[in-house]
């Protein structure tokens, strides 16, 4: 099947396109098709310049999402475009909270399959092939759709592609509407709560310092935060300490958390379970501190320290402070 029009879901935060949006746009513009973005929300238009800079010619903005959870109205507006013959052949969506809602709604609404957890995409003679990292990243499953129905919907994990600006002009803003969708659209946002976090975002930071159960105690997580701050990085966590309530879920790295690809990832007191490795093993450099010389984390570490994180971290912090 031939692809002539691609839509990339453009999510914005503080009126700027998110990094996954830019990653997907970068991939899409290499496919020899018209690339457009689809987004929503008040002030979304202010992202049009950046979206154009990364290769989209148009930015389709759904204007009637209001206080709804975006999944239903954004899927509704895309479905409207599809039924009027203006839809895309290929729809690329980031594996985010709202992205996953939109993909699932749209799939059921249009009775189309969807491929999720995508960690690579390639174009072949028979269409788009998706890669999925399975069994803790030890194997790659290649999948494709067996139907020619469009749009083909792929939900792609963060950091699958590297974002690079193309230098295009600002995208032309078009407006779309979802219309009245009835009962399915009844979930409404009453208020938003922002958990305070200083420093760079976990999935955008150049340095990520993560802690796990080997820190023994919630209070020791302050070592992770302090080290992250000294290295201008972001603190992260294994699921074990998220489940234990030491840090919020937004700190979690791994299969069911964030995918990170920093210049250096420091894993402190983390065993290196396959579900954790999936989220960080593509970091350019990995340093691990673990007291168990057999810990699986060492199999991916460029520098492995067999030792007590509670002893190594304070010394490291002290030394960095002395240099500052």
């Amino acid at each position: 099947m031939s692809i002539s029009k691609i839509w990339v879901l453009a999510e914005t935060a503080d009126s700027k396109p998110t990094s996954i949006t830019l990653e997907l746009l970068t991939f899409a513009r290499g496919l020899n098709a018209t690339v457009e973005a689809i987004g929503w929300g008040e002030g979304a238009e202010s992202a049009a310049a950046e979206i154009g800079n990364f290769g989209a010619t148009a930015f389709n903005v759904v204007t009637d999402v209001n206080d709804s959870l975006p999944g239903v109205p954004v899927a509704g507006a895309i479905a409207n475009a599809v039924s009027s013959g203006n839809g895309p052949d290929l729809l690329l969506i980031g594996a985010t909270y709202d992205g996953r809602d939109i993909a699932a709604r749209l799939s059921a609404k249009l009775n189309l399959p969807v491929l999720t957890n995508v960690t690579g995409l390639e174009q072949s003679g028979e269409g788009i092939i998706a890669h999925h990292s399975i069994f803790g990243g030890t194997q790659i499953a290649k999948t494709k759709f067996t139907t020619d129905s469009t749009p083909q919907i792929f939900v792609v994990r963060a950091k699958t592609f590297t974002a690079e600006a193309a230098g295009g002009a600002a995208a032309t803003v078009n407006t779309l509407t979802a219309g009245d969708l009835g009962a399915v659209n009844a979930a409404k946002i009453v208020s938003r709560h922002v958990e305070e976090r200083s420093g760079p975002k976990l999935d955008e930071a150049d340095v990520v310092v993560s802690g796990g159960r080997g820190l023994s105690d919630k209070a020791n997580y302050s070592l992770i935060e302090e080290l992250a701050k000294l290295l201008k990085g972001a603190p992260g966590a294994s699921r074990a300490i998220v489940d234990a309530g030491w840090v919020p879920y937004s700190y979690q790295v791994g299969q069911t958390g964030k995918t990170v690809k920093p210049t250096v990832y420091l894993a402190c007191g983390i065993s290196g379970a396959t579900q954790h490795l999936v989220g960080m093993k593509n970091a350019k450099n990995i340093i691990a501190i673990n007291k168990d010389p057999e810990a699986p984390i060492f199999s991916v570490a460029d520098l492995g320290i067999v030792g007590d994180a509670q002893k190594v971290l304070p010394k490291l912090i002290e030394e960095l402070k002395a240099r500052a």
Partner: protein, 259 residues
């Protein structure tokens, strides 16, 4: 309030997974257990039914070979009964087909609230709950951290990139529960004994008004056509800390020009 909880029965994640070399489907012929990711939804569903003055808690599961061992775990935790869909025609179903099967089954229970996990631990597709909401014509609130019932609607704290949103939604609705947000109860001896005699009603695809070609390998419109080994990362230097290992980290960071 009647609650339906979707429960997936999966191969033990502690045992290494395996694909069938002929179909590239995940092998599911060993003993199956309740997906750990569902234990949070089961706990949440039981708590909500209790706090809203009782009501039925019904499990819904699609599984091969009339498998019930995972369902028995959730019944032992306190659910009242289970609806099981088991049919050879379902082998190889994709997420959307699974959602169609679950939706048709859930209709029979006429629930006020449908709970599922955000994704399963074996497939990770993560679309089924919202797909079944759409098929049932219901709103959905995904990635819930907290749920409370207020009359005929629910208030949900939904995970976001920045923190959480407070979401209000009328019932009936579908909610997906983020793993780790509640402490699932351990079934006690009484619960385990009681679970053995709790009803598990079994259905075939034909009982659901679905046609066999909408589900299973024939209904799936996506295929795993190849599985290859991923590029392995090489382990580097390993140093045993004798009090000075922080210096090795410092020089590693210096080489990367990060300090």
């Amino acid at each position: 309030m009647n609650v339906v909880i979707c429960v997936k029965q999966i191969p033990d994640p502690a045992a290494p997974g395996e694909l069938d070399p002929n179909t590239n489907n995940l092998k599911r012929d060993s003993k199956l257990i309740m997906d750990d990711s569902d234990s949070y939804g089961v706990e949440m569903g039981l708590q909500l039914a209790e706090s809203s003055g009782g009501g039925e808690v019904t499990l819904v599961s699609m599984a091969p070979n009339s498998e019930t061992s995972g369902l028995r775990t959730a019944l032992a935790m306190g659910a009242g009964k289970a609806l099981l869909i088991s049919d050879e025609a379902l082998a190889g179903s994709d997420a959307l087909s699974t959602a169609k099967v679950l939706a048709a089954t859930i209709k029979k229970a006429q629930p006020d609230l449908i709970i599922a996990a955000t994704e399963s631990s074996d497939g990770y597709t993560g679309t089924t709950p919202v797909q079944l909401a759409e098929i049932l014509g219901l709103p959905a609130v995904t990635f819930a951290k907290k749920i409370s019932v207020e009359g005929s609607s629910i208030k949900v704290e939904r995970q976001t990139e920045a923190g959480y949103d407070e979401v209000s939604c009328p019932l009936p609705a579908v909610v997906t529960v983020t793993a780790g947000v509640v402490e699932p109860r351990y079934p006690n001896f009484k619960g385990i004994m009681a679970a053995k005699s709790k009803p598990v009603e079994e259905f075939k695809v034909s009982d659901l008004g679905l046609s066999a070609d909408e589900v299973g390998n024939t209904g799936a419109r996506q295929v795993v056509f190849e599985v290859i080994a991923a590029e392995a990362r090489q382990a580097g230097e390993k140093i045993v800390d004798e009090g000075e290992a922080h210096k090795d980290i410092i020089s590693f960071l210096e080489k990367l020009k990060l300090i």
